[in-house]
Every structure is written in structure tokens, then in C-alpha cells.
Amino acid sequence: MSETLIDVHDLSAGYGGIPVVRNLSISVRAGEVVALLGPNGAGKTTTLLTLSGILQPISGRVDVLGETVSGVKPEKVARRGLSHVAEDRSLFFDLSVKENLRLGLRGDRNERAASMEVALDLFPALAPLVDRRAGLLSGGEQQMLAMARGLASRPRVLLVDEMSLGLAPIIVERMLPIVRRIADETGAGILMVEQHVGLALSVADRGYVLAHGELAMEGTSAELRSNRRLVEESYLGGI
């Protein structure tokens, strides 16, 4: 039984005191890829923001890497070993690809050099672009950069928000295996928010379906794939 990296129990989270997510309980173990599915406004991004500490939970227990995130500054949570690739990618547009990556590195000199190599290995398409300003990259290249940067710190927990957003399917297909590789090779726990159910379930081990802020369904990806119709209904508000 591998270590539980993310342990959320009965979480209510939202903005200005108004909960967007209610009574949510999810978990992610080491080496797992877990998909967080659901329609727009279901509360997926809110959940991720709470996990990384940017939003404070209204109630409930949220433990990341063994410690709570309630009342903890997001930068501290990040330094524990969590990487959050946000929906808007949060790239530094004025800095070059190399500089963006550099900011993601952790550890001493050797470790950082090694991590940089690994990141570029994972996304070889970035190698010729290292000196280009991030703002000038194409959508796919930007997403790759965001992922590479998130991985540059060798995180133990990776949160990815809408990786496929605005990307051509072929590019997404190329990036998905990398997610699987990370989980398998490094033992990181990965929580992916996705609207593309099929794509997400193709690499995920398990999945949760959120609807209207509450957990509508959960199960292994095999279970969810076979219950496709139920998943769709939850998207359209049936459940």
C-alpha cells in the first residue's frame, strides 16, 4: 500500500465564505494518476486551489504530504513538494523558457542541473526554444513549458488543471503518456483536472466526478469507462 499523498476529508471550499465545493472527500496515493472530472463550475479548479493553499478551506480536513494546508501559505505548501500547474499556466511571459524552468528548480547545484536536463528530456520540443520569451510560444509549447516547469522541482505531488485546454488533440495525445511516465518512474501522485473524460481516463488509475460542487461518482478508470453514460449524465446534471 503506497503512501497517501493527498488526503481530503469532508472539504468545503469556496470564495468569500460561500462554498463552491461541499463535503468532498478524495485521496491520491503515491504512483497514482487520479482524474478529477466534471462540467464547468463543478468546483474542480477550486479544489486544486485549496490543495495548493491558495484558497483557504472553509471546513473539513485537507492533508497534503502528511500535513494540513489549512492556514499554511501556498509557497510553503509548494516547497513541501507539491507542484500545481494552473489552468492559466501562470507562465512568466517576459522571461525566457530557460529562465522559467530555472525558477522551478530546487536543491543544490548538481540537483538543479540534473533536474533541468530531466525536464528538457521529458519535453524535447522545448530544447530549441530555451532562449525564446515564454510569451511568444504557441499554445502547445506554453503548456509543455508549464508542465516542464512544474516537473522541474521533482515534485511528489503534481496537480494539473485542464492540461488539454485550447490544445490540438494530437498535442494532448503526446503529452498524456508523459504524465503516466512521471507517476510510474518517480512515484509522484498526480491529480488531473480534465474536461476530456476519454483522454483523462486513458492514463488515469482512478477518477472522481464532481457535479455542482459535490462528489457525484468515483471509481477506477476501468469502472468509469464502462459506465460512460453515467459519467455523461453527471456532466449534464442528471445525477
Binding site: I54, E75, A78, E99
Partner: protein
């Protein structure tokens, strides 16, 4: 031509100063998104620290001993060298350490608490820091104003520098080299080090930096320290060529530095340095070489130097305005709520007669025994200040435009009216009469207001492309330029140098309503009534604007310009309308000031006073008409400050200090200003009085009673040593009660997590 270039080289001294200051401004902005208007004061304090270490070997800490007792004292001075002078390089080190300390203080005490505040809040915070440092410098260093000491190469001289025929003092060259070196070091830092990269990253996308594990606050702290230390360097090294050290030194020199920082787009240190040096050289060539040429226009002779930074700032912002970095914080609170005015009729019906009663009562002795002259004058000052505050309320409170130039616009209208009313006939009161058409005062005043509106709209044009703090920078530059180009320029005003422009008193159908009362003092009840009526009318106008569709358009533009545009609001029209109306209000304030003082000069409209006026408007409550009224009472020489200084003359030296701290506290804790604090109170009180029965009285008595008693005791005993007369004891107790209740309100707010009271009860508030 050769001469011009030679003079340009001589401008390297001033240019290096601007360059160093600009560097600090850029670094501060990169680190925390704040344009620090107090930057010059940091340089000033460092310069004072250094020079006094060299004079008497004592290090003054940046605070004063507020403990009233003589036994227990806050340490304010540390004697480093009891022999007198401290070694030069040790003194430099200590001065830089002091700057670093100031940087730490600014971060933790002012700008970190303000990190989520609206841009106006940060501006007020910076003004508060400036006032505070000036006040501390005055108390700690006295008014000696020593000549600063030179450090770098004071005795070297390069004759015939580079062959252009003029010498170059080694010191100026040394300063230039130092500025370049500092620039190089900082350029390297921000380009290649992790800290520098992280700073640039956080400036571009704070959330991204946070998610990578960087603490924006840590980054801000270190950048503040760097920024403050560059200011310290500027003050200590370049201070020697800038002349006498006074607490208000460098406040005007911040404008060219701002221009240079903007040339550097608030992000590139090397370009800012080049900009600063460039501005210094251009200013020097203009003031020494060009003014001697016959083709140089007469009326520009004295104002050209100050006009240059304004032109540069406007051009830079216009051409590059869209690409300037506006830092997006993770969670930025908007300006405080602007309450919907209700029941304005009732307020007018009650307050206007009250005003008239005071108008007639204050000069008489029944309210304040034997001290009439000053209360009437203070009341007048408060009323007229409130008129100016309305201008700020409308522009900054309703439309979100930070304009520092409203006082100057008031000046334009006052000067114009004075000129229109002048008829060139000297009198004992006015021996240096200006020539003019001698128009009757209503026409003169109207013309003055119209000109003010025109100037205001003109100055509003940059606002179409420039937003937030950048607009503040433009308006400061404009205020400085107006001062030297117009008010001080006798070629344009035709005023005899140093003499004031006389203003004949207004009359209504033959009745003299001028400010001079029967005893020759400025306490005429008719004038006060005039002011009350004018102010009431202005309040009604502003209130109705707020209630109507114009007000809604204003607020929409304030909230989100793009959204407003997409909702069909003509943003440009709305902004210009706002500038126009606000300038009209300011124009009225200017005209009334002229009537009150009966003679005006450029000193009435110094740009620094404009900054303070904005700060008081904020203190009072920048988003409501009531706030303007309270701001007027609070302003210097207004009712409350005169009352305060009457009670305790010992506090006089500490006024800038208290003002500065008050501004910072208000920006942090009560961003809506005092109006929002007292207004619901007063309002509750009114309705409550009508409805309350004994049980309610008991509840309140139990809740507030102990505090009231504490306040009475505090007033009677604690504040007692500062009172001036026997009869002020009861007033002291009242002050004590107010103070205790105020502190209690702050504590309650902090405990409740800082939620705006108005957001909890929006329906309760009114004008």
C-alpha cells in the same frame, strides 16, 4: 554648440542623482508593485544620518520618544563616537544600514499590510511614510540644515573636460561612475541571479511565483531593502552637491526621478539610469545654456526645468502606456464601497442652519470663551477645504482616478479670477496692483471656474490612456510644472515678484459678504454663511450625480473599464466629464479660498499641499460626501486640528508625525476613511434616539459604558499634562472618550478579520 555639450556634461551630477533615485523606484516597483513617493524622504533621512554622524557622532533612530514621562524613555539616539566625528566609511555603512532598516520598516509596517489595497491606498501609504520621515527628521535633527559633506574625490578637477572647454569636478564624475556601477550590479542581479529572476517572475505573475514556492512577501522585503539602500546611496553620496539638508529635501526632485523610472518602464534599471542621466543633462542645458539664447521665450525662463520632466513623463506614458507593467496581485481589493446617498434633504435641512448658527456664534464669545478670532477662521478653512475634498471624492472616490493636481487647478481658477477682478489701481492694501479688466466678482469667478474646467479636462486627456498610479505620477508632474510655469512665473501672471494678488471681497446686492468681520478679523458671519450655502449646494450636486445615471457610469468605470465599455458606456467621455466636473468643484474651492484670504500667491497651491489634501480627503472618506466634510474638518488649520493644537501646544512639533502615522493606519485599517467609522455611528444614534427605550439604553451602557469611563479617566488624567487652560479639562475628557472608542473600533475590526462594515450593512448608510 560646444558650450551646450559642455554644459550637458556638467549636468552629470544632477543626472546621477536622478539615476540613482530612479533605480530605487524601479526596484521597489519590481518587488512590490508600489511607486514609492516617499523615496526621496528615505534618501533625505540617510543623508541626515550620515552627516550627523560626521558632525556629532550620534546615530538617530527613526522614531521619537512618545512616552510622556521623563523617567522611562524610548532610546532615540545611540552615541557611536563620544569624541564627535565618526570615521567616514563607518558613517557611510551606518547610513546605509539605516536605509536598510527603513526599507524593512516600510515593508512590514506599511506596504505589506497594503499589498491587497487599491492603488490609491498604496499612494496614501507612501504619502504617510513621507510625512512621517519628514516629521521625525525635524524632531531628531532639528532645524539646523547643515551643508552635507562630500565624500568622493572632493578636490579633483578635470580642466577642459573632453575638450569642450569647461572643467568637470571630480566629484560629479565620480558620482556618475558610481551610478553606472550600481546600475551594472543591479542589472546583473535581476538578469542572472535566482533572486532577481524570482522578483521579475513575481512582478509578472504573482500566482505563478507562489505556486513555484517563492514567497512574494520575502521577495518584496529584500527588494525594499535594496531600493532603500540605493536611496541611501543617493542621499549620502550625491547629497553633497544638492545643497542644504532640510527635512523636505528631495520631495520635488522625486519628479524627474519618476520620469526616469518611467523611461525604464518601471522594470529596467539600466534604461532608468540612462533616463535619469539624460534628464539631468537636458535640464542643465535648458537652464544654463538655452535660457541665455535670444530665441528662448521669455515666459519659459524659470519654468522650463520643471516642465521637462512633465513632458517626458506624458510622452513616455502615452507612447508606452499600454506596455507598462501593472502588477496583478492574487487578491486585490477594490476601492471601498461608495455608499448610496439617501436623505440628502434632511441632512441639508439640519446641517445648514447649524452652520449658520456657528457662523454667528463662533465670533461671539458664548461657545469658546475669549478665543473667537481663530474659531471662525478655522471653520471657514474647514468649509472651503471640504469643497476641495469634494473634487477628490468625485474623481478618486467615484471614478477611481488618482489625481494629485486638483489643488493646482483650484489655484488656476483663483489666479484667473483675481486677474479678472483686478483693475491696476494700487491701494494701501494692494500697493502692487496688477492690471486687469476689473470685472465684477460673479463674472470673474465664473471665468475662473471655466478656465479651471478647461485645464482640468486638458489634464484629463492623459487619463484616457493612463491608469492608476501612473496617472498619479502624471498629475504630480503637472502640479509641479503648473507651479513654476504659471503661479511663480511673473511674466505670465503679471504679478510683482513676491507680492500677492489682491482679491476684492464679494458682495451680494450691495451687502458685503467678504471675510473680514467688524473687528478687522477674518470672522465675518456673512462670509461663513456664504461658504455654508456654497458647500451645501456643492454637496447636493455631488450627491445627485452619485444617485443618478452619471454616478452609476462613474462607478462602472471605476470598477472595470473594459466591462463598462462593453456595457455601452463611453469611457472616454465619462472620464473627461468627471475631470471637468471635479475641476469645476476645485475651481469653486479656489475662488472661495481667494475670498477668504483676500490675497493669494503661488504658495497657496504648492504641489505638496495638494498631496496632503488628497491624503486628508482619503482620511475623511474618499468615497462619500460626508467623507469630504470630515476631511475638511481634519485638514491643517481646520477645526479639528486647531482644536487639537489649542488643547495641547506641546504636540505641535509632532503634527507631521501623527499625520503620517494616521494616514498609514487609515489606509491599512479603515480604507473607507473615518467617515465610514463615525457615520453609521451618528446615523444609528439618530434613529436610535427616536426608537430607543430603557432596555436598549441599558444594553449600550453595559457594552460601551466601561470604555466611556476609561476614556473620561484617560482624558482627565492622562492627557492632562498637555492641556493649556483650566477650562479645557472637560474637552480633554471628551477627547479621551473619542480616542478610546476609536481604538476599540480598530480592535474590533482586527478581530473580526477586517471585513468592511459597509459590506455587512449596505442599506444602512447614507450621504
Amino acid at each position: 554648440m560646444k558650450d551646450a555639450i559642455a554644459f550637458a556634461f556638467l549636468g552629470l551630477g544632477a543626472g546621477s542623482f536622478f539615476a540613482l533615485m530612479a533605480t530605487g523606484l524601479v526596484v521597489a516597483y519590481k518587488g512590490s508593485g508600489v511607486i514609492n513617493f516617499a523615496h526621496g524622504s528615505v534618501a533625505m533621512y540617510a543623508a541626515f544620518t550620515f552627516n550627523y554622524l560626521r558632525i556629532d557622532g550620534r546615530l538617530r533612530l527613526p522614531w521619537v520618544d512618545i512616552l510622556p514621562t521623563h523617567q522611562v524613555n524610548l532610546p532615540v539616539q545611540i552615541t557611536i563616537s563620544s569624541g564627535g566625528k565618526v570615521n567616514v566609511w563607518l558613517a557611510v555603512l551606518l547610513a546605509l544600514a539605516m536605509s536598510a532598516l527603513l526599507g524593512v520598516g516600510m515593508h512590514y509596517l506599511v506596504f505589506r499590510p497594503l499589498r491587497n489595497a487599491a492603488p490609491l491606498g498604496k499612494v496614501i501609504g507612501a504619502i504617510g511614510v513621507m510625512l512621517y520621515l519628514q516629521g521625525v527628521a525635524l524632531v531628531n535633527f532639528g532645524s539646523e540644515n547643515p551643508q552635507p559633506k562630500s565624500i568622493l574625490l572632493p578636490d579633483t578637477l578635470f580642466k577642459n573636460f573632453l575638450g569642450f572647454g569647461k572643467p568637470m569636478p571630480g566629484e560629479n564624475l565620480g558620482l556618475f561612475i558610481m551610478a553606472v556601477l550600481v546600475g551594472a550590479v543591479l542589472w546583473f542581479n535581476y538578469k542572472y541571479t535566482r533572486f532577481g529572476l524570482a522578483t521579475r517572475a513575481a512582478a509578472g505573475n504573482e500566482k505563478g511565483a507562489v505556486l513555484l514556492g517563492y514567497s512574494p512577501e520575502r521577495l518584496a522585503l529584500f527588494n525594499w531593502i535594496i531600493a532603500a539602500m540605493t536611496a541611501g546611496l543617493a542621499g549620502v553620496f550625491v547629497g553633497s552637491i544638492t545643497g542644504a539638508l532640510t527635512p523636505t529635501k528631495f520631495t520635488t526632485l522625486i519628479v524627474p526621478a519618476l520620469g526616469a523610472a518611467l523611461i525604464g518602464s518601471l522594470s529596467s534599471v539600466p534604461i532608468a539610469i540612462a533616463g535619469g542621466v539624460g534628464i539631468g543633462m537636458i535640464q542643465t542645458v535648458t537652464s544654463t545654456w538655452m535660457t541665455g539664447k535670444s530665441w528662448f521665450p521669455d515666459w519659459l525662463q524659470s519654468g522650463a526645468t520643471d516642465a521637462i520632466p512633465l513632458v517626458i513623463i506624458v510622452l513616455t506614458l502615452f507612447l508606452r502606456g499600454k506596455s507598462l507593467p501593472i502588477r496583478g496581485n492574487i487578491e486585490e481589493r477594490r476601492l471601498p464601497l461608495s455608499p448610496y446617498p439617501k436623505r440628502i434633504g434632511w441632512h441639508v435641512a439640519i446641517l445648514v442652519p447649524l452652520g449658520v448658527v456657528l457662523a454667528y456664534g463662533l465670533p461671539g464669545d458664548f461657545v469658546f470663551a475669549g478665543l473667537s478670532g481663530k474659531w471662525s477662521f478655522a471653520f471657514m478653512t474647514s468649509l472651503i477645504a471640504a469643497m476641495l475634498m469634494l473634487s477628490y471624492v468625485l474623481l478618486a472616490g467615484y471614478v477611481g482616478q488618482i489625481s494629485m493636481v486638483q489643488l493646482s487647478i483650484a489655484g488656476v481658477s483663483a489666479f484667473f479670477m483675481a486677474r479678472m477682478s483686478a483693475n491696476g489701481v494700487p491701494s494701501p492694501q494692494d500697493p502692487f496692483a496688477v492690471s486687469g479688466p476689473g470685472l465684477p466678482w460673479p463674472i470673474g469667478a465664473t471665468l475662473g471656474i471655466i478656465v479651471a474646467i478647461a485645464v482640468g479636462v486638458l489634464l484629463g486627456i492623459p487619463a484616457l490612456r493612463i491608469r492608476g498610479v501612473q496617472l498619479a505620477v502624471v498629475t504630480i508632474a503637472a502640479a509641479v510644472a503648473l507651479q513654476t510655469l504659471y503661479f511663480d512665473n511673473s511674466k505670465l501672471t503679471n504679478l510683482m515678484a513676491g507680492s500677492n494678488a489682491a482679491v476684492p471681497p464679494p458682495t451680494f446686492f450691495g451687502v458685503d459678504v467678504g471675510s473680514t468681520g467688524p473687528r478687522g478679523l477674518t470672522d465675518s458671519p456673512k462670509f461663513v454663511t456664504f461658504c455654508v450655502i456654497v458647500l451645501a449646494a456643492m454637496c447636493v450636486i455631488v450627491s445627485n450625480l452619485r444617485r443618478g445615471s452619471t454616478g452609476r457610469r462613474f462607478l462602472a468605470v471605476r470598477a472595470n473599464e473594459r466591462a463598462a465599455a462593453s456595457a455601452g458606456i463611453d469611457v472616454a467621455r465619462t472620464k473627461l466629464l468627471a475631470f471637468g466636473i471635479a475641476s469645476g468643484l476645485a475651481g469653486v474651492a479656489g475662488v472661495m479660498t481667494a475670498f477668504q484670504q483676500q490675497q493669494i500667491s503661488s504658495s497657496n497651491w504648492v504641489y505638496f499641499a495638494g498631496l496632503i489634501a488628497l491624503a486628508f480627503a482619503y482620511l475623511g472618506g474618499i468615497t462619500s460626501v460626508a467623507g469630504a466634510l470630515i476631511g475638511g474638518m481634519l485638514t491643517g488649520s481646520g477645526l479639528i486640528s486647531v482644536f487639537g493644537s489649542h488643547q495641547s501646544s506641546g504636540l505641535h512639533t509632532y503634527t507631521p508625525l501623527i499625520g503620517g502615522v494616521g494616514m498609514i493606519l487609515t489606509a491599512i485599517i479603515h480604507p473607507s476613511g473615518q467617515a465610514m467609522l463615525f457615520q453609521p455611528l451618528l446615523q444609528y444614534f439618530g434613529r436610535w434616539l427616536k426608537a430607543a427605550r430603557v432596555p436598549e439604553w441599558l444594553v449600550v451602557a453595559r457594552r460601551l459604558g466601561p470604555y466611556v469611563v476609561l476614556g473620561l479617566a484617560l482624558g482627565a488624567i492622562g492627557i492632562n499634562p498637555w492641556r493649556t487652560d483650566e477650562w479645557s479639562r472637560p474637552w480633554m475628557m471628551l477627547v479621551g472618550v473619542l480616542l478610546v472608542l476609536f481604538v476599540r473600533s480598530i480592535v474590533v475590526r482586527i478581530r473580526s478579520g477586517g471585513h468592511e462594515p459597509s459590506s455587512d450593512s449596505p442599506a444602512e448608510v447614507s450621504a
